[in-house]
């Protein structure tokens, strides 16, 4: 891509970080790579129109692509643990990282938009206003979704901690 060296540099420098955002959204490294790749193609074509921070632009594309992707692909492929591996992708709840695993599970069950809000707020450290802008929704909606999602997470993690104390 000889005539867009800034794009090449941007991709090389920022891909690892953006891949992590995509991973938290999709919970699967393969799907995350596909999502990032799809977003980067879009960005390449929009590059001349990107004003200001390209990373914010890509982040927005990743998140909105994923939300619309899931909406349309609801019957698409889903990763499945290898039946022979005996452990697969589902973490063992008895493992020492029980809380971490529980959060991972709950995160996966959240609607895509709620998960996007959590990732943007707590992984990308955006403000509520910035998150609202990325997703094209109101600040009020961000607040509502964030508190609902956090409540679900808090429930499950506290419950699990409690259960562990009882069985200790």
């Amino acid at each position: 891509m000889t005539d867009r060296p800034e794009y090449d540099r941007f991709v090389a420098e920022r891909s690892p970080r953006l891949l992590r955002v995509a991973y938290l959204m999709t919970r699967d490294w393969g799907a995350a790579e596909d999502l990032l790749q799809s977003a980067l193609i879009k960005v390449w074509f929009a590059w001349s129109r990107v004003r200001g921070d390209p990373e914010a632009y890509v982040r927005r594309i990743i998140v909105t692509t994923h939300i619309s992707f899931r909406r349309r692909r609801s019957s698409g492929e889903i990763p499945w643990p290898d039946p022979d591996s005996g452990r697969g992708y589902l973490p063992d709840p008895a493992a020492e990282h029980a809380e971490r695993d529980a959060v991972w599970q709950v995160l996966g069950r959240l609607p895509a938009r709620q998960r996007a809000i959590l990732v943007l707020r707590y992984f990308e450290d955006l403000t509520e206003a910035q998150t609202a802008e990325v997703l094209g929704i109101s600040v009020g909606t961000v607040k509502t979704h964030a508190s609902r999602a956090l409540a679900k997470l808090r429930d499950i993690t506290e419950l699990r901690a409690h259960a562990e104390e009882l069985t200790r």
């Binding site: 699967d28 790579e33 193609i41 990763p79 959590l118 992984f123 956090l150």
Partner: protein, 403 residues
């Protein structure tokens, strides 16, 4: 920020680093298999079934199609030539995913169909969609792409970008074809792409398919509830792993032996890669796809389909609607007659890299597949029409059981 929010923040950071252990070959391989989008691989079967189904039927009634203008913009063959196509032929087949040329669509099931000079043997050589390639510069009239390093499956998107419908598919296919040529040195006499829905329609048009199921396969996608209604047998959770069986829903099981399947069942069967009795995952799936192609081809050639005017009519209109072909200047009829001599057992599938993952890291792209030296020899053999010698030297590279 509350304590809980702070804790959650740390957990997210922790989780984002949770890559599978890179040294664990099995994990890595499993990841690779898992990431395959079933639809995408299956789309390839669509292209081939349609080309071959058309081939079987073409001599008889496809003539009207030959008088339509075909080919990509600028390369229109208005006057059908009826010269016989002789010598070795290379056809690029692309399977389109169900989203076609939409923003997220692509064609990343990619296969070379090589016909030997006598047109008695065909070789199906699949190229990994994640192969790291140089995509050449391309202008589709709507957008210009200057060329760059990317994965092979991105070529379709770059070629189709900014266009819709048939124009998008043609240009996607065109850039994909140019990219494979740059990678392999092979020039194509024709290119074709088709989608999953097309294969299903073809199978229904020929009255279902008789297929030998070679390992017991439990469907993760198709099942029935207690009232006999169609239902999904395993819980789906968006892109996350399913949480287990859905109570009250019995999955469809494909048992070993000769089975008669409808279009929908056949498609479901060749999509499966999770609950295969032999645990051969993606390789099993690809083998089943090859077997389906051969079965469809045989069935189309059988007197039953060709002699039944109703089935034949359905098949022809299905093929006509579902397939995008750039026949390289020759008429479709010529193409069909040129591959018609291919016997049902004359189709041999070959797995690039011998079916093994050969993975490299490329900045900005992540993991890509590379072609090993033997794969390069295979491509050379395609150019020289010496694939039969290659196969004789590498019998383990064939993935279609010859029986």
């Amino acid at each position: 920020m509350t304590d809980f929010e702070e804790r959650f923040r740390h957990l997210l950071r922790d989780l984002s680093k949770d890559a599978p252990a890179s040294g664990d070959r099995a994990t890595l391989l499993h990841r690779k298999i898992t990431r395959r989008r079933r639809f995408r691989t299956v789309g390839l079967a669509g292209a081939l079934v349609l080309v071959l189904a058309g081939a079987g039927a073409g001599l008889v009634t496809l003539r009207p199609a030959a008088h339509r203008t075909l080919g990509t913009a600028g390369a229109v063959s208005a006057t059908p030539s009826h010269a016989a196509l002789t010598g070795p032929e290379n056809i690029l087949l692309a399977g389109e995913d169900p989203y076609g040329t939409s923003a997220d669509g692509g064609a990343d099931a990619i296969m070379i169909l090589h016909l030997s000079a006598d047109h008695r043997t065909g070789y199906l050589i699949s190229i990994p969609r994640d192969t790291g390639v140089r995509i050449p510069a391309y202008n589709n009239g709507a957008q210009s792409y200057p060329g760059g390093e990317a994965k092979l499956n991105m070529a379709y998107g770059y070629g189709a970008r900014g266009l819709t419908g048939t124009a998008a598919r043609r240009h996607g296919l065109d850039l994909l074809s140019k990219t494979v040529t740059a990678l392999s040195g092979i020039t194509f006499n024709a290119t074709a792409s088709a989608n999953l829905a097309g294969v299903e329609q073809v199978i229904d048009a020929i009255g279902g398919i008789n297929l030998y199921v070679d390992e017991k396969t439990i469907s993760t996608d198709l099942g029935y509830d207690r009232s006999g209604n169609e239902a999904v047998p395993f819980k789906r959770d968006g892109s996350s792993p399913p949480m287990g069986a859905v109570p009250g829903v019995t999955p469809v099981v494909y048992n070993v032996g000769n089975q008669h399947l409808t279009g929908a069942q056949a498609i479901d069967y060749i999509r499966q890669r999770d609950l295969l009795a032999n645990g051969d995952g993606d390789y099993g799936r690809q083998r089943h796809q090859n077997q389906l192609l051969v079965a469809v081809y045989r069935q189309v050639l059988s007197a039953g389909t060709l002699a039944d005017p109703h089935r034949l009519g359905d098949l022809l209109s299905t093929v006509d609607k579902a397939l995008i072909i750039d026949s390289g200047g020759a008429s479709l009829t010529d193409w069909f007659s040129s591959v018609r001599g291919l016997p049902g057992d004359g189709l041999i599938g070959i797995a690039m890299n011998g079916g093994q993952y050969v993975t490299a890291q490329q900045p900005g792209l992540g993991e890509v597949q590379t072609l090993n030296d033997t794969s390069r020899q295979l491509l050379d053999a395609v150019r020289a029409d010496t694939v039969s010698q290659f196969v004789a030297a590498h019998p383990d590279w064939m993935d279609t059981p010859t029986k």
